[in-house]
């Protein structure tokens, strides 16, 4: 055996050892990733973007596949039905949906449930046979929270003005919860607090401003204005500012938008009540997975709201909660 042959043999041995080093044991890929669908009710706004972000983070953490579907037009119930059919064809394990119209999707959801697909509905009761679970914010309870915080602010006496819109169901529920709580307190305690009026707007800031201004002109003794949405709150603020009643009237409102954040940051409003859309999306997918794994969970998961006073705005957690840039942009 020549010297070169011996060198070749040595190299061969090293190559065999090196090749064996690259061997990877049997890869355990037997667990197929779950497929979940997130179906929104309309074109993404800031709220839904954060909700999607939460859902995506959750899916990534649990190694699930998440498909997000959003109707191109607001209120397109037929598009939601198409997405449900798509999810059925794709063999989705679970669907989180914000139904535009229960009537349009009810039959399909029931069919999907019977075939073993887990259904999660946002902002609806879980008592219906079409849903396994509801993950979201209880708007009625949010209204009650707002009422208690309002009472904290105005102490034992004062008149309240409620502004809500005629379109959004959650706004109506927030107004109802608020009124019910105030009514309960005033009936059981010796309180001199009353709701002066409930103003229904068309959902725009202009309409809100106009209607609030009209009421304040005739009744400037209002202690606090409670707005069930961001547009109503901004409209009310405009009216109060123009009438220079900022020091006399407290403002309390809902939703986290650029405008409402600015009002809070500048101390123009007493406080802001915000749902946590990120948590809604995050927990929706998390609970779909829990149900898929047959874990015992509550039928209703209340992600709650956070009441933020202007003085708490600088807090680290509040900034993280309110500032969408901290949450990151949703990319699809």
């Amino acid at each position: 055996m020549g010297f070169k042959a011996r060198i070749a043999l040595t190299i061969f041995i090293f190559m065999v050892v090196a090749t064996s080093c690259t061997y990877s044991g049997d890869q355990d890929n037997d667990s197929k990733a779950s497929v979940f669908y997130l179906i929104n009710s309309g074109p993404s706004d800031e709220f839904f973007s954060l909700m999607e972000k939460g859902a995506m983070d959750s899916a990534e953490e649990m190694n699930c596949k998440l498909v997000v579907r959003t109707p191109k037009e607001q209120g397109d119930a037929m598009a939601q039905l198409d997405y449900l059919n798509e999810a059925q064809k794709a063999g989705a394990n679970g669907i989180a949906i914000h139904p535009i119209s229960d009537a349009d999707v009810e039959a399909k959801l029931e069919e999907l449930r019977l075939s073993g697909v887990i259904i999660n509905s946002f902002f609806r009761g879980a008592d219906k046979k079409t849903y396994d679970i509801t993950v979201g914010t209880d708007s009625y309870e949010s209204g009650q929270i707002a009422a208690r915080r309002a009472l904290e602010a105005i102490k034992s006496s004062g008149e309240l003005l409620v502004i809500t819109d005629e379109i959004a169901q959650r706004s109506r529920e927030r107004a109802e919860g608020f009124s019910a709580y105030i009514g309960q307190v005033t009936s059981t305690q010796s309180s001199d607090v009353k709701i002066y009026d409930t103003v229904i707007t068309d959902g725009s800031g202009e309409d809100s401003e106009a209607k609030v201004a009209k009421i304040l002109e005739s009744h400037p003794t209002i202690s606090m204005i409670y707005a069930t949405g961001a547009q109503e709150l901004c409209g009310a603020f405009q009216a109060v500012s123009k009438m220079k009643l900022n020091n006399k009237i407290l403002l309390l409102g809902f939703d986290n938008t650029y405008e409402t954040r600015s009002l809070l940051e500048n101390g123009n409003i007493y406080g802001l009540i915000v749902p946590v859309p990120y948590n809604v999306g995050y927990m929706s997918i998390r609970y779909l997975k829990k149900l898929e794994l047959n874990e015992v969970v509550d039928a209703t998961v209340n992600t709650g709201v956070r009441f933020i006073k202007a003085e708490d705005y600088a807090s680290e957690d509040v900034k993280a909660l309110l500032d969408p840039t901290r949450e990151g942009e949703v990319s699809r």
């Binding site: 044991g25 953490e61 709650g304 709201v305």
Partner: protein, 376 residues
């Protein structure tokens, strides 16, 4: 082009090369094994620091939240009003402990996903603490109803969010641990394959080396065996061929020198035994001639009958001496013949050895330095 210097192929070099091949092989396996053992150790260490420690911290935080809940509940009951201050102190201690745990967690080198999830959990804890303070404030102001409402409606969702985040962090930690464990399993698989392949290769290489060395030694010894066989058959004509320079070549050279010496001795014996034969025959011939002459002298002395008694006695004595000499010479002739016969037999025996023919004869000299025969 420069010619590469060839490595001298000797038995020693063959053994050293085999040793280096096996040693390199074992070294390679050793290095790879140490690498994987190190990797397994690091994975185990990371499982401890990242997973076990983080779970331990999160369990403490979880316990702190539960204890805080208990104190809040106790505070809402009228009977425990006297102990409110103690409860508040306990709650503050738990909050401080949670804050410390959060700092501890931040020192653990976890993945970005875990860090991000824990940050959200941390924000929930901050929100939870703020609500706890509000509840305490309400209780101390006597508004237990408001405290319970905050607890039920506002604190519970925050706590749920914190719990879910903690659970998610634990899940991620466990996933990370499982991943590390899989890496350990992978390292184990690799090590198993390497060891099995190494064992097979060591066996193959050892067999190969044994075969090569045996063939090598056999090949060299066969030449000596053949050479010895030739000598047994009176053939000292062929020297052992020297193809490679190794330890065996030196032995061959020494054997060739001894064969050369034997060959020279044989030639000398042949030559000198011839001389002995010739000399013996000459001696016998000379003795025979001497005997004939002595017999003639003896006959002539016998014919001298008229000699006086004194002379007769002398003649008889001379005849006797001549007879003795003749007998002695005959004995010498017999001995000489015998010696000639022996020399002839020895010559015949020695001439059985096949040495180089006259035409093949070459001048051979012995190299003084190496002892290797040089043909000129």
């Amino acid at each position: 082009m420069k010619k590469k210097p060839m490595v001298k192929k000797t038995f020693k070099n063959v053994l050293i090369t085999s040793y280096i091949v096996l040693l390199s092989f074992m070294l390679a396996i050793g290095i790879v094994s140490i690498y994987y053992i190190r990797q397994t150790y690091e994975n185990g260490s990371e499982i401890y620091t990242q997973t076990l420690k983080s779970i331990e911290i999160l369990e403490t935080v979880d316990q702190n939240i539960k204890e805080t809940d208990q104190y809040i509940f106790s505070m809402t009951t009228a009977l425990d009003k006297e102990n409110h201050k103690d409860y508040v102190n306990h709650i503050n201690r738990l909050m401080d402990d949670t804050a410390y745990m959060v700092k501890e967690y931040q020192n653990i080198p976890v993945s970005e996903k875990e860090k991000d999830r824990f940050t959200r959990c941390y924000y929930d804890i901050l929100g939870y603490n703020r609500l706890i303070n509000q509840i305490i404030e309400k209780i101390e102001s006597g508004d237990v109803t408001a405290a319970l409402e905050i607890y039920e409606m506002e604190l519970k969702p925050v706590r749920l969010s914190a719990y879910e985040s903690m659970e998610a962090v634990i899940d991620l930690s466990e996933e990370s641990a499982a991943e590390r464990n899989n890496m350990n399993l992978d390292a184990y698989h690799k090590m198993s394959v390497i060891v099995i392949v190494a064992m097979i290769l060591v066996i193959l290489v050892t067999i190969l080396i044994v075969v090569i060395v045996t063939r090598y030694i056999n090949g060299r010894l066969t030449k000596i065996k053949k050479w010895a066989g030739n000598i047994a058959e009176y053939d000292v004509s062929d020297d052992i061929e020297m193809d490679e320079k190794d330890e065996f070549s030196e032995t061959y050279s020494a054997l060739n020198v001894s064969q050369y010496m034997v060959r020279a001795l044989i030639e000398k014996i042949v030559s000198e035994s011839g001389t002995i034969c010739e000399t013996g025959e000459d001696v016998t011939l000379a003795i025979n001639k001497s005997n004939e002459r002595l017999e003639n002298i003896s006959v002539k002395l016998y014919d001298l009958k008229d000699l006086n008694s004194e002379n007769k006695t002398i003649v008889e004595r001379v005849q006797k001496e001549i007879n003795d000499i003749t007998m002695y010479l005959e004995q010498v002739a017999i001995t000489s013949d015998y010696q000639v016969e022996v020399a002839k037999r020895h010559k015949e025996e020695v001439t059985k050895f096949k040495t180089k023919g006259e035409d093949e004869k070459v001048r051979e000299t012995v190299s003084g330095e190496t002892g290797v025969l040089k043909r000129m």
